[in-house]
């Protein structure tokens, strides 16, 4: 493989692996910006992946090319509904947000595997016939070098992910809603004094994280695994949390971190075919995202500050 061919292989693949992380990590940004820690992103992705595959398998014959979009929409809705478990427990019932998130992860996995066994009578679904397909963008793909690199093997979901990232940046930093969201996450009592309904804002934020986490899962299942089993989502949710932290709780930062982690995932999966790194044991690349996150938090890679009220339930009248 020449260096150029190598790039043509690695970069599109890195974007492919990054896409689900981008959605999910930005969901995490919304939740944590409002002051609710969401360890449950993994569980939300699992639910999204299941819903995506289920809808795809059941409706592919009648919906045709629209199947994947309907499947993703269903995953968004179910993900948002499922995240209500976390919202109710951690916002209204004042549960420890970390414990509630752990429960979301356990429940997501158990419930979906239960449903798969109930519906299909086996532990793993069939492969879908209508995965999300890549395509080349006319004219742009003819640009020398960059065309082949960025516009030849494109997934529409990747374009959507970039749009969501910039959209999230706009919403969080340029709109009144975003200002309230951040206020609630930094100083809920001050926000309450200004007439912002803290709990309502947090419910909305957690549901956004559920919707985007579900979308991330559905995208992962429909572009990469093409089926659903207990091992379909194995750590991508936590990698999304890592991307969120590495990106310093900022949508564009999360986008960048997700792209970088996508690259690490590509190299760890296909590393043995790539010259230069074929002799690097895959394990180093597998642990890279997690180690980098720890280093980022330790302050070795710039300071990473979480929203101040993150993790604390807001109790009116208590100071």
């Amino acid at each position: 493989m020449s260096f150029l061919e190598m790039l043509y292989f690695i970069i599109p693949s890195a974007i492919l692996y990054a896409t689900p992380l981008i959605f999910t990590a930005i969901g995490g940004v919304f939740s944590e910006r409002s002051g609710v820690v969401n360890i449950g992103l993994e569980g939300l992705m699992i639910v999204g992946a299941f819903v995506g595959i289920f809808v795809n398998l059941e409706f592919a014959s009648s919906l045709g090319a629209a199947t994947v979009w309907v499947a993703m929409l269903a995953a968004v809705v179910i993900g948002a509904i499922f995240s209500l478990f976390h919202a109710v427990a951690s916002i209204s019932f004042r549960a420890d947000q970390t414990v509630s998130g752990v429960a979301i992860n356990l429940l997501g996995l158990a419930a979906t595997v239960f449903l798969v066994k109930m519906i299909y009578d086996k532990g793993q679904t069939d492969m879908i016939d209508q995965p999300i397909r890549r395509f080349g963008i006319p004219y742009l793909e003819d640009i020398p070098f960059f065309g082949r690199l960025l516009f030849h093997d494109v997934y529409s979901t990747s374009i959507l992910a970039f749009a969501v990232a910039f959209g999230a940046w706009f919403i969080i930093y340029k709109t009144p809603f975003g200002l309230r969201l951040r206020a609630v996450g930094e100083h809920p009592m001050a926000a309450d004094t200004m007439g912002i309904n803290v709990n309502k804002m947090r419910y909305i934020a957690v549901m956004i994280s559920g919707a985007l986490g579900g979308l991330g899962g559905a995208v992962y299942a429909q572009t990469i695994t093409h089926d659903f089993s207990h091992a379909t989502i194995a750590g991508q949710g936590f990698m999304a949390i890592a991307a969120m932290i590495f990106g310093k709780w900022h949508p564009i930062g999360a986008l960048g971190a997700a792209l970088f982690f996508g690259l690490a995932q590509t190299l760890s999966i296909a590393g043995n075919q790539i010259p230069l790194i074929e002799n690097v044991p895959a394990v180093y690349l597998q642990i890279l995202p997690y180690v980098l996150t720890i280093l980022a938090l330790a302050g070795f890679i710039g300071k990473a500050n979480a929203p101040k009220a993150s993790g604390q339930p807001y109790i009116k009248g208590k100071r």
Binding site: L106, L109, I245, V291
Partner: protein, 348 residues
């Protein structure tokens, strides 16, 4: 109702609600919950073989629960039990097959290696928290994945590309012909004694030593402990390390007792995460952990009987466990409900 009664009622009510919701899920999915729970019950207590295996399943849960509970008591949340357990498993298996020693030395050495491996992995998180203010929840989650991938890579290396290590020598094994015979050839092993011993160790450290008092004090109020002249940072590191030691021993139970080797894992064992539930149910006390572990160990092992005996996927039990965690975590709402209930009664 006194606070004490309420503290006891919250987990019990959570378990009952969990089981009821589990029954509802079974009905809605077209299964017979009575058949399901009978299958679960016989899976746990059906005969001496089942009972033996149930106790075997409880063993690592006790240690995982102790690990989480010990950290909780000192104000820390160790989600990294899973990773510490995996490394303890690997260390015990390696010492178990790589050395040839008399049993009195070999078995304790293998257990020690597991405890040390778990303790080291947790120490990293404690150190990062004390020195760099890295939140232990995130650090331990990230360390879980690092541990999983590192353990898999090491096993592959040790076994020359195979998926599991060599079998451990008899001199490092926790297996016991006596216990096996007693329970109709189940895989019950001496690990349960180690686990119960550790329950006493945790109680002793927390209740009978000055260091334990300091650890608890830091957990209650960091600033007060600091003002009283205790080194908060040192205690955070020590608490995590001890917690990881329990977790590592949990891995040794699997390596030296149940499986007799270490194998490459496609994903987490789940024992570490269920340990959170065990600790929560046990109100983070050593004795409570034994009860919590008994419940979850029984449910997990008994569930294996459900597909055969009642045609119900065993994941129903995982759903119930997740729900129990939800309700225990949401204890606040149950407390409010109980207090309202008792006030009404007083009013009558």
């Amino acid at each position: 109702m006194s606070n004490r009664v309420i503290n006891l009622l919250v987990p019990i009510i959570s378990i009952i609600i969990g089981l009821i919701v589990g029954a509802i899920v079974m009905v809605v999915s077209g299964y017979d919950p009575v058949q399901g729970y009978i299958a679960l019950w016989t899976g746990i207590f059906g005969d001496s073989y089942s009972i033996g295996n149930t106790i075997r399943q409880i063993t690592p849960y006790i240690l995982a629960g102790l690990a989480v509970a010990f950290a909780f008591r000192t104000g820390l949340f160790n989600i990294g039990v899973e990773g510490q357990l995996i490394l303890g498993w690997l260390a015990a298996a390696w010492v178990g097959y790589a050395f040839e020693l008399p049993k009195v030395i070999h078995l304790p050495l293998a257990l020690l290696a597991a405890a040390a491996a778990g303790a080291f992995w947790a120490f990293i998180a404690g150190f990062l928290k004390a020195k760099f203010k890295v939140h232990e929840v995130i650090a331990t989650i990230m360390l879980n994945y690092t541990a999983l991938y590192i353990a898999n890579a090491v096993i592959k290396k040790l076994s020359d590309g195979s998926f599991k290590t060599e079998r451990i020598h008899e001199s490092a094994s926790l297996r016991s012909p006596f216990l096996r015979e007693l329970t109709d050839n189940s895989s019950l092993h001496y690990g349960i004694i180690v686990a119960l011993l550790m329950v006493v160790v945790m109680w002793f450290i927390l209740e009978k030593t000055t260091r334990g008092y300091e650890l608890k004090a830091v957990g209650f109020n960091k600033n007060a402990a600091d003002y009283a002249g205790m080194s908060v940072n040192k205690n955070i590191i020590l608490a995590m390390t001890i917690s990881g030691m329990f977790a590592g021993l949990g891995g040794a139970m699997e390596a030296l007792g149940t499986f007799q080797n270490a194998s490459i894992k496609p994903g987490f064992t789940g024992i570490g995460f269920d340990g959170i539930a065990v600790a929560l149910l046990g109100a983070n006390t050593p004795l409570g952990v034994v009860f919590g572990a008994s419940l979850f160990g029984s449910l997990k092992y008994g569930a294996l009987n459900m597909p055969n005996a009642a045609g119900i996927p065993e994941e129903i039990v995982s759903i119930i466990i997740a729900l129990i965690i939800f309700f225990v975590a949401s204890g606040y709402i149950i407390r409010v409900g109980l207090q309202k209930l008792s006030k009404k009664k007083e009013g009558q």
